[in-house]
Structures are given as C-alpha cells and as structure tokens.
Symmetry: D3
Subunit: 245 residues, 6 copies
C-alpha cells in the first residue's frame, strides 16, 4: 500500500519530521510517500497563507494519485484544501485535524487542542464546529510561530507544555490533541510526561488512510465532491484546469 503524506508548506525539514511520524506508525506493508509543496508559503499561519498553499497542494495531490498512491494525507492542522482535494482526487484524502478528532473521539469525552498561533485558533474552532465536536473540544494557542518548533533555542516547546498543563488543570481535558503538523514528533514524550493520551494528527491520519484503503472505500463522487467540470483556466494558472493538472 502506498500513502502520500503531503506537507502543504514549502519547508522540507518539516516534511522530514512529518514523514518520521508517519512511518513510525505505518503498517509494515505501507510505503509512505512524503512530499513537500513546491510553491507557496514556508509555513501556514492563518487564512492568507492557507489560501496561497492551495495550488501547490493540489498539484501534489494530482501527482500523488498519478504515481500510484492509494490515499493522501494533508499534513497541516488547518485541513488546508481538503474539500478541493477530495473533489479532484479519486483516492481518499484525509486532513490531520479531522483524523485526530475522529481518533480521539473513541477514547475521551473532553479534549483540548493546543495549536501554535492565536490567528490559527479561530480557523481550528471552525473545524471543530464542522466536525461536530463543539462542546467536547476546546482550542488553545501557545503563541509560538510554526517554524520555532524546529528551533532548538526557542522556548516553543516549553510554551506548548505550559498550555497542556493549563488544559489539564482548567479545561477538564481528558486527552490532548497537538494542533500543528510540526509537533508530530512530540506526542509520545508529552503523553509520558503528562500521563494522558496525546494525539498527533499525522499518525492518526496514516492509520485512518490505511483503514479506508483496506476497506476499499474512497470519496463519494455524488454531490459536493463530484469530479470538477473541465473548463479553461486562465493566466498563470492555465495548467490547473481539471483535465491538465
């Protein structure tokens, strides 16, 4: 089985972290195809970055399907471009926020997501709403830039731990979800430190993807995820017309 894990930002070192987390939990027969987007922002922090990450992401979705991937994971906690990717692809596509929430829903009633920047909090709260988990899930922001997670000299991880401690003390949280793909390497250490389940969405999405492939399930192509109507695309995005991408 081949599963594409696509980092929709253009920072290859973050892709490496993500790929490690994916491979650590993949079945022995699963090949993880880790991909970095070739165009757009170096990190996704809020709505504007998210919008400009879409063309690069959709290009990689199309390439992944052509190269034989049986499922694709979008490795950004905003579930960037998930609907467009599902419309485009015939293979199943998963977001790491939705995968993390679906997974944690089996083991806890009250959950806190800890994300990076304040500006990502509201988009994630909208996802919590969309995924039907309002009232069960609270979102906290540790107020750290995404790429600071990779900087050994930053205090990013300490701030993250401070928010987890606050969630356990003040939110009645029973489990923690890490709200950024760049935290994918931290789940085990934090779970051990705090004594509660700590879920990383990349790992969760890989398991969900393997499950869908084994079950022979893919995106329903009736309704909003119907294959895009082919039509001309203009200007610099000419090559993105459905029949050409």
């Amino acid at each position: 089985m081949k599963i594409a894990v696509i980092n929709p930002n253009t920072t290859a070192s973050m892709t490496a972290t993500i790929a490690d987390a994916a491979r650590r939990v993949a079945n022995s027969g699963t090949e993880i195809l880790a991909v970095t987007s070739s165009m757009g922002p170096v990190s996704i922090e809020g709505y504007y970055d998210e919008a400009l990450a879409l063309p690069g992401l959709l290009l990689e979705i199309a390439r992944a399907e052509r190269s034989g991937a049986e499922a694709a994971v979008i490795a950004c906690f905003d579930d960037t471009g998930l609907d467009a990717a599902r419309a485009l692809a015939t293979i199943p596509v998963l977001g790491i926020c939705e995968a993390a929430l679906a997974t944690v829903s089996f083991i806890a009633q009250r959950i806190t997501i800890v994300t990076t920047m304040e500006r990502s909090r509201l988009p994630i709260e909208h996802l919590v709403h969309r995924y039907g988990m309002v009232g069960r899930v609270k979102v906290r922001a540790a107020d750290i830039p995404v790429l600071s997670l990779e900087d050994p000299h930053s205090d990013a991880r300490d701030r993250l731990r401070g928010e987890i401690a606050a969630a356990l003390r003040d939110d009645r949280a029973e489990a923690i979800v890490l709200g950024c793909a760049g935290m994918a390497d931290l789940s085990h250490a934090l779970s051990t430190e705090f004594g509660v389940p700590v879920i990383d969405g990349v790992a969760a999405a890989v398991k969900q993807a393997e499950g869908l492939v084994t079950l022979g399930l893919s995106t329903a192509k009736r309704g909003a995820y119907a294959t895009p109507v082919n039509k001309p695309y203009m200007g610099e995005l000419q090559g993105f017309a459905p029949a050409q991408i």
Copy 2:
C-alpha cells in the same frame, strides 16, 4: 495483535457473520476473538433488549481484557453499553455505529443509515446527535426483524435494498451505512449494486481498533471513564462488583 469482537446478543450464528466480516478486513497479524454473550436477549431490538444485554456484554469485556485482547469492539449498532464498557476496561472499546460514522465522515458529506426496525431508529438518531453528525446523517428503518436477516426465505434483504434506493433518490445520500451488525456480510454486494460506498460498522470498527492499538492509545481515565469505584453489588449481580467481574 488480538482484538475481541463481542456480539452482545446471544445468537451464535450472528456472531459467525460478524466474525467473518471482521476477519476479512483485519491485518494479517491481527487475531479476531469473536465472542457471543452468554446471557440476555437473542437479538437487540429497542431500549429494553439493550438494557438486558448489558450484564452479558460487560462480562465479555472483562473476560476479553483478561485473555489479552488489546481492544474490544461491541458489535451492535446501538453501541450498547459503550460508556460502561469504557469505564470498566483499560483497553480501548469501540462501538460499530461510532466507528462507521467516523469512517464514512472522511468520504462523504450526506449519509443515510439503514437499520432494521422502526423502534431502533430513534436510539440511532440519538447516537447521530451524540456523535455530532446531525444535519449530515439521516436514519431509515427497513421494518425488518434483526434475525430475519439470517432467514433465506424472508424478504428482509429486498426491503433493505428498497430503502437504500430511496435514500439515494430522496435523501441526497452520497454513501450508505448499514445499521445492524447482522448486515455485516452485505456491504460489498450492495456497494457494487448501487455504485456508492456502503459501510459496515463491524469492519470499520476493526480498522479503528487496530489503529488505536498501533498508536498506543487507550481510553482516558480522567472524568466519566474513570475506573469504577469498587463497592458491594447485591443479589444475583453480586459477582459484577468492579473488583470481582
């Protein structure tokens, strides 16, 4: 990996159907421990049967954990006893309704569940509400007794197909969820016949269970799923005291 799949009714032939569905999708290294409850109703049709299925179910949950199962699946679409089982066990426990809904949520926006009897429709609608999928999921009842699914002379399967056809025509359904463990053998044929994804909860729950075990996740024991306080149990249920079961 050993996963217990527990049929909370006492009909062994239905357990056989369930076990087949579970084994068909399990990873090669996964052993499926299929168990039939030893006490309670022969089929679960509505709230009363569900209540009396609980002691037998909880006994099997305790036994499964003692015998080394790393996860347990409750194979009744009412998710009978799910909360009590999660409080009792330290291994993760999954319901097939919640597993089916979590799984289908990755591939479709509008879903119809087709269950057996009208009296099961409302309890399933409550589960849809609890799992945060109101507005996405509609429930239909084919008006067939559970055990008629096993009777080659009944028209149960035709009625089921009639409801699926109605769901695709009238509900904007993009995918179908089979609303009874006794339908576990039908998902592939129905998916082929109707050309849409058809999800069986037993298969979905096995994949979710494997995922949780691989991820090293189990029920959070803070809050409502805290281990039961030991205390005397009286009368015929004396043996069910937390420390004794």
Copy 3:
C-alpha cells in the same frame, strides 16, 4: 392514586430518605410505594454502576405496574434506565433529573445542578443536552461519594453548600437543582439558607407523576417506546424475557 418510587440502588436507608421526600409533597390521596432494588450496586456512581442497576430496576418497574401503581419514578439523578422502563411499562415513568429540569424551567432561566462525584458530571451534562437545556444549565460536582450524604461525620453537606455558594457567585445561577436522590431531604433547608429556589428531583417527579395520572396520560407506544417484542432471553437473565418479567 398509587405511585411507585423506585430506588435503583440497593441501599434501603437511601430509599427511606427518598420516600420521606416523596410523601412530604404527595397529594393526600396519593399512596407512595417506595421500593429498593434487590440486585446491583449499593450506590450509582458513573456508567458502570448505572448499567448494572438496570435489571433490578426493570424488575421493580414490572412489579410496580402489576401491583397497581399508576405511575413510576426512577429515583436516581442519572435517569438510569428511563428509556427501557418506558418501553416496558404501560404506566408513565419519570426520571428525577428530567422532572427537576422540567419543573425548574418554569421559574428560572439560569440553573446550576450540584451533583456528587466528578464522574457523574458528564452523564448529567448529556441529560441536560438531551432535555434541551444546554445554555441554561451548568453542572457542578461537589466531589463527594453518594453514601457519604448519609454519614453525619462526613463533610459532604459542607462541600455541597460550597458548590451552591460558588454557583450563585460565579454562574449567574437563579435556582439550584440537587443532583442526587440522596440529597432529597436537603432542599428546604438549603433554599432557606441561600434565599433561592432549590429543587429536589424526587419531589418534582412525584408532582409530575400525579399530574400525568390525573390528565390520563401515559407513554406513547408508537416509535421507540413500543412494547418490547417477546423473544427468548438466555442464561441467568432468562426470566427477563418481555413476557416473563
């Protein structure tokens, strides 16, 4: 008029407290039939105890109806087994949580329920949701074992009063609901002490039951509360088959 008030745990001293509260408010022509379950846990603290209280409770529901009771009250604030009891009985059946909330809804907009243990908080929050009172009702736990309410040397009542004080100070609560049948004797003293309405569910349920009987109303037997289909019950629960209980 004869109304059965059933304590679904097996502690007779708690039944005595409940019976007193029921008789204090019953009409002069109403006979209160106070019953203690003969099997299951000595107190109901969380999902597991609740599940094992069901057979004993349903047995008493059936007996109460046979002995001429015109309505039944389930005297546990989790509304344990309410749906199953309604399906089984032809007389109306009331839970004390739903009766307390229906009653308080006529006199206050913002309400706080104070219950015993943290693990009961989430199940009660689910009831609040089901009864349509999310946004109006907050649940607090005083962190006291149920049976400590009967112990003159425990600090249970002081902790309860601490939570009431906090509710009035911090929750904008206009009225208090006591979240455990074992608190049934405290409503008047607490109402006097704090100067706000304090509702006990046992008393509320008795008045609701009398009202239903006078109005000639009982459970609608279409849909989810249809009379259980008779069928074999196996093992130690053989005697619980619908036609035999």
Copy 4:
C-alpha cells in the same frame, strides 16, 4: 389553593371553555379563578394581536396576585407576555405552550403541535426552539381562525382532525399537542378517536401550577425576572408603573 387562569383575549365564551378544561383536572382543593382580559383583541392571531394583549394581561396578573391567587396560567398558546408577567408577579406564572411541552416530554419523543392559523406557526416554532425541543416537535397549522373553533357551523374541527391524521401518517408523531387555548375541550375526544395521547395546554398548566405551589416554588427573582424597577409611566399607560399596577 387558588389558581388564576387568564385568557389574554377579550372573548368571554373562550374563557368559559378554558375554565371548564381547567376545572376538569384541578385537584378537589383547588379553586380556579377564570379571568377574561378587559382590553385588547378578541382573539390572538399573530404578533400584532399578541403585543396589544399585553397591557390587559399584565393588569389581570397583578389583580390575580392581589386577590390571593398562588399561581397564574396564561391561557394563550403563544405564551403571550410570559416573561413580563414573571418579572411582575411574585407568584409562579405558566404559559400553556411551555406546560404542554414539558408535560408531553415525559411520554413521547416525537410530537406534533396543531395550531390554528399559518401566521401563528412561526411564533410557536420560536417557542419550540426556546423550550429546547427543536428536532422533537413539528408545528402544523390547520388554517382556521381562532374564533371559528366556537362556531358549530364551521369546518374548523374537521380541518383540525385532518392535520392530526397527517401528523400521525407523515411526521412520525407519537403524541399530539393542541396549539390553541380554544381547543381545550377537544383533547379527550381526539385522543379516543386517534388512539394517541392528545395534550391540551390549559389542563397541563393547571397541574404544573398545582405542583409548583405544593413544592413551595416560585419565580427566581435574580436576573431577568427581577422585580421591575419603579419609574414613571407616561400617557395613557401611567397607571401601569410597577408601583401602581
């Protein structure tokens, strides 16, 4: 015990129907004080009539309390002026829509309200929302003027029965609520004819009122129902200043 039942429209013949329904279910020791508003519309059909019924209604609430009533019922299914009456009075005040819904919630899951005119449907849907019963309750309008219910030559009752039949056939309704005080005399006959519970709000409210009085409960005076601040009232409504009414 003395309970005021106030008809907020000015049609005395409708008050007679309402009084009969109230007395039929009242306890033997309960005196029903039936009152007709002295100012405003002859029937309440929509928002405008409702607004102009308020001064007359509030006057009768104040008089009822002064004359020793221990509770008051507002006998219009729009629950006209309920909030203002609760702020004004120190005795409990009940609306017949809220009383009917609280009562039926103990005996049915799916309910249909059948009201008179289309223009009353939306205000009643707003009440259903406010009382937390969206998803359980559907509202139908029989398209009949309120006062036609009193006209033996009109087809109002046949239209009403037509909507009940439709509710049972098409809405999965398990019980019917009559959505107009002018239907208070019909509940028993309709229940017999259709074989399902049929609830009249006037009768339901009388039993709820008796219950509250016996329980010693009245409107919480913290928050939105705090006693009105006294202040000058101008023009023709001078006499309605809180200290004067």
Copy 5:
C-alpha cells in the same frame, strides 16, 4: 428618503441623542424623523418595561408610515416590538440590536456587547441566539441604569469603559457593540480610546434602512409578518384595532 427613528421610551432627551447619532451617518438626501413614544415607561429596563412600551411604539410606527417614512428604526437595544411592528407596517422596520449584529458580522468574528443592567443581559442573549450569533457574541452588563448615561455626575461611562476593557482582555473580543440606544453618542470616542471597532446600533440601523429602501425591499408579507387580520379591540385599546391605528 425619509426614515423614522422611534425611541420607544418616553424620554425626549434620549431621543435627541439618538437623532444626533442617526443624522451623523445618514446620506445627505435622507431625512431623519426622530420620534419619542407618548405612552409607557421613561426607560426600558427588562421585560416588564418592554411589554408596556409596545402600544406607544406601534402607534408611532403607524404614524410614521402614514407620514411618508420609507423605513422605521426601533431605537431600543432589546429590539422591542420588532415582530409586531413588521406585521403592522408595509415599510421595512429594523431593530438596533439586529442591525448592529448584522453590521459587525462583516468585520469581526468575536464580539462583545456591553449593555446597561444585568436584567437586560438575558433578553439580549436571547436576541443573539435568534440572530444566529451564539458562539460569536458575548453579552456583558455594566450594571448602570439607562438614564444614568445622561447624567454627567454618574460613573456610568467609567463603568462602561471598564467592561470594554474586560471584554478585550478576557473575551477575545475583536469588536465591541454598544448595547443601549442611550450610548449612541459614544461609539467614536470609545473606538479611538480602545483601538477597536465600536458599533452603535442606531447608526448601523440607519445605514441598513437606507440600503433596504434603495434596493426596493420591504417586509415579506407571507407567513408570520402577514398584515394583521382586522377585528374588534376592546376597552382602552379599542383604537388599536388594525384598521384604526
């Protein structure tokens, strides 16, 4: 274009503040017809005042339409009598709470309303619910009488500023809505002081009214806003019959 701005309380000095706020933002071709109610309370603080403000308000709505106004604004933050006014008038009618919320919804996700008295908080929370903004909008009360806003010696404005500061610090508020028509003159100064958008409902409603008139839109007269059925009105309210007002 002529727009009526109706102060439903009887305090002319407050009308002057409101008229100033309206004229400051009106288009050059818009005439603002500022009107003070001639009957009812001198200020609207809670449900009781609101109910008695209705006859005076509806009289002014009818007069405004007769005098050629093309739209009417009800200048009380409780949106007093909005539904009745819409049924009565054929010109569009706007409430200042709904106008403020519609306007702020284009520029902020998290909003805090700061109103005057605690007893107005719950009615405004109900409006927030009705206007679909639960989860986005929080309501705070500065605990100040409405008319104290006009008193240069009161500390009302300081208390208001204290609540705004608290909203920005504790509620994640991105914008502030002033929750009383009597605050209409303060929006610019407070916006400058706190550096966030501060919305006054009177100004917002005038712009919405101008927009509706230009678009040629008025209240839909199907459903709940259908023109009131003419019928006799009794007693002191005789003159309010639909055909006479």
Copy 6:
C-alpha cells in the same frame, strides 16, 4: 467613495453584468470599480474551482486597496476567499452570500436560496450554517451551469423560475435569494413576476459596503484577521508573499 467589485472568475462578460447591478443601486457619490480576475477558472462551480480562484482574487484585493478603494466586494456566491481577503486587506471586504443573507434577514423569516449547480449546494449550505441561518434558509439548485445564464438559447432562466415557484409552494419561503453573481440582473423581473422579495447579493453587498465606509468601520485586526506575518513564498507564488503582493 470608491468600492471595488471583484469577479473572482475570469469571464469579463459576467463582470459586466455584475457591474451593472452594482451601479444600479450605488449612491450617486459612489464609484464602482469592477474588476475581473486575471488568472484561474472561467466560472466557479464547486470546491476545486474555488481553490484555484484564490490567487487571482487576492491579487485584485491588494490592487484595489492600493488604488484607493475604500471597500471590496467578492462577487461570487460561495464567498470565495473571504477570510483570506479580510486578513490581507485593511479595507472592509464583503461576500455576496453573507451580504444577501444579512439583508434578507431584516425582511423575512423563511428564505430560499436558488443556486446553479448541485455541487454548489453543499458549500452554500455550509455558509448558511456559518452565518447562523440554519433553520431559516433552504438551498435549492436549478442544475444549470453558471455560464449558461449568459446564453440566450439555454433554458437556464426557466429552470431558475421553476425552482423559485417550487420554493414558494413547498418551502414556506417568504423571500428568494439568487445564489449566483451571474443572476444579478434578474432580481427585479423575478420579484415582479413572483410577487415576493428577490435579493441579489451583488446589490446587497454594495449597500453594505457603503454603510461600513460611512460608519468608518473596517475589519478588526485582532484574532483570525490579523495582518499576515511576512515570510518567504516559494516557486511560482513567490510574488504573493504578504510584503510583496
């Protein structure tokens, strides 16, 4: 006042229709700057087209602000890129779906949106949810390609009228919202034909934009709409880095 109206698809003839609708309702002092996106799909039909319309749209938002526009309208009923545009710009940005819904909310309770293709229905239903109008608004699709609205030989307009007729007959709709910018020229004729308010989002958004500018209000820059953090953008989207666009 200068307001930019941006057509996020690349079809200039549709921009002409949109510009006409905008100018017809603009104040005499308002200049409408009508812009066609220079890159991306020729029409937006579903999630994929929407994603690829974003870079072209955001470019025009940045240009509009630089060229002195005081507000911007995104003239696609999916409210394509609204959040990203709000984060990028300091002038207010409006979507035509949100503007249409805010406007119609003042004049009707039950509304039906009629859009073009089935695949756009679900995204619009999500907007209805986000804008807090679930329960008030129904969405219908006339099953017509967007560009067929411009083709005099297609039956697109007849299909649209068929859906409006169905909405009035079956949905209790009191007003109609046109669910595509390409229908902007039809609102007056359809309103006349059907005798109910018919709202076009382009016109509604222009009036809302004028209102915000006059009120001196723009997007709150705390929280999710904070100005994007500058950072490198890679590959073909290099020029879209916040500091460069």
